[in-house]
Symmetry: C2
Subunit: 80 residues, 2 copies
């Protein structure tokens, strides 16, 4: 099975990359954009035998390596 993991900066954390992208979008004519936040995205293939344990494994991966819990939050979906 596959975990689709999205990692975002917490709301209060400054995001200069997101701000630069917003500026670039405005310059391209996308004036309808009010805010851009950049994050990370991972697709992780996990052994199917884990089944119900998969979400616990994904949580641990996020906490130990993929996300920085001081400034980032994570969310994920498990798909077949």
């Amino acid at each position: 099975m596959r975990a689709q993991i999205k990692i975002s900066l917490k709301k209060d954390v400054l995001d200069p990359q997101g701000r630069a992208i917003k500026k670039a979008l405005h310059q391209l004519g996308f004036s309808e954009i009010s805010e851009v936040r950049q994050g990370k995205y991972f697709e992780v293939d996990i052994d199917d035998s884990l089944e119900l344990m998969a979400s616990k494994v994904v949580e641990r991966m996020c906490q130990q390596l993929l996300a920085n819990p001081v400034v980032e939050t994570y969310s994920y979906e498990l798909v077949d």
Copy 2:
């Protein structure tokens, strides 16, 4: 409304960062992981007045700036 945009490398494109993360996860004891692919994630706030046009705007943003269509694919969801 908010667009949650996921950008991934195409299947045939090498992903050395994903490979490094897989190795790190194995070293941390996550032996159940068979593959890791790294991508990008954006949250873009869009003027609510766009309504039905929003998905077209997001498509254009992805094609023009956020994704590199030669090596990347994108997908998105619109949430309130």
